[in-house]
């Protein structure tokens, strides 16, 4: 009996991510959920700009590449063109969703667009070489904050789930991580719920995945997973921030 194998919704192509990068795990979770819900043939993904810019190479479903940050706007159009048949998700990093695409994100949430957003937060700009992101932690050393992020000069990190939970629009907001086997299982549950909400016509569902960037954090993959527990999670607490149907509101 096969206990675990690559999901069908991921193709055979070897991913370009750095060794130990958790993007690979998150891609797989999205693909596993597509398999389990049987929606591979009618799913359309929207890829961002960032490390996961080439996500369209790895999924077997149809994919669109959006301009930087505009994935929720593109997804809105695709979903509204055929709301009955299309399942639409965006896969975005923190530079894409929380920086240049903040307006699109907030307004898609406010309109309660019936789309699923997978938000990968690794607190740094990975693709461009490790510059400070809107989500970089106070004191975090990056290429553009070599003495650590100075909040007096650069301001404070943006907590996307907390911020969006203030809106009446979004249906479901949860923050998860993928730094242990247990956490990966939880993350999959959250992603599945986000897709199921869309199938049920409930509306905007965003799952923020606290992720690692061993290369730009300057850590080994193992140290990076520990760093998530030590530094990221105290600042970005995990949990459900909004689940309107269940009446949950943090």
């Amino acid at each position: 009996m096969v206990v675990f194998d690559k999901p069908h919704s991921l193709n055979e192509m070897s991913m370009h991510y750095c060794p130990g990068c958790t993007h690979g795990i998150i891609h797989r979770l999205v693909a596993e959920v597509m398999d389990e819900l049987g929606i591979e043939g009618r799913t359309i993904g929207v890829a961002p700009v960032g490390c996961s810019v080439m996500a369209y190479n790895y999924f077997n479903c149809d994919m669109i590449e959006a301009a930087h940050g505009r994935a929720p706007a593109v997804a809105t159009g695709v979903k509204r063109a055929d709301p009955e048949n299309h399942v639409v998700f965006t896969y975005q990093g923190d530079g894409d969703l929380a920086s240049i695409g903040m307006a699109e994100t907030v307004h898609a949430a406010a309109r309660n667009e019936n789309i699923t957003v997978i938000f990968v937060n690794n607190a740094i700009y990975g693709m461009t070489g490790g510059q400070m992101a809107p989500t970089s932690l106070p004191g975090q050393v990056t290429q553009t904050s070599p003495y650590g992020r100075d909040v007096n000069h650069c301001g404070y990190p943006i907590k996307v789930c907390e911020m969006l939970s203030q809106l009446d629009g979004p249906e479901y907001l949860e923050r998860v991580t993928v730094n242990s086997v247990k956490a990966v299982r939880n993350a999959k549950k959250a992603i599945k719920k986000a897709f199921q909400n869309q199938l049920d016509g409930k509306g905007f569902s965003l799952v923020e995945v606290v992720s690692s960037c061993p290369t730009n954090w300057g850590l080994t993959p193992q140290q990076a997973l520990k760093w998530i527990d030590e530094k990221m999670i105290p600042y970005y607490p995990l949990g459900v921030y909004k689940d309107r149907s269940a009446g949950e509101d943090k």
């Binding site: 009996m1 096969v2 206990v3 675990f4 194998d5 690559k6 999901p7 991921l10 070897s14 991913m15 991510y17 750095c18 060794p19 130990g20 990068c21 958790t22 993007h23 690979g24 795990i25 797989r28 242990s180 086997v181 990966v184 299982r185 061993p214 080994t220 993959p221 193992q222 997973l225």
Partner: protein, 68 residues
């Protein structure tokens, strides 16, 4: 009896599976090098494997197939 199959050439040698294994029977091969130039993960004691799939769940590159 659990059986692991490795797509060795996809392995990037990150070692996340090695840390995830509850039985500590995975290692990055000290003498093999794959197509990408990494030391790929391998099983050291096939009989001790319980097929829990923890390694496969943590693998970012879907290298490991688990059968039981």
């Amino acid at each position: 009896m659990a059986k692991l199959t490795f797509k060795t050439d996809n392995c990037k040698g990150c070692g996340l599976c090695v840390d995830a294994c509850p039985k500590n029977i995975l290692q990055l091969s000290p003498d093999k090098i794959n197509k990408k130039g990494h030391h790929p993960a391998e099983l050291t004691d096939e009989a001790a494997c319980i097929g829990c799939a923890s390694c496969a769940i943590m693998c970012p590159d879907c290298v490991i197939k688990v059968e039981r």
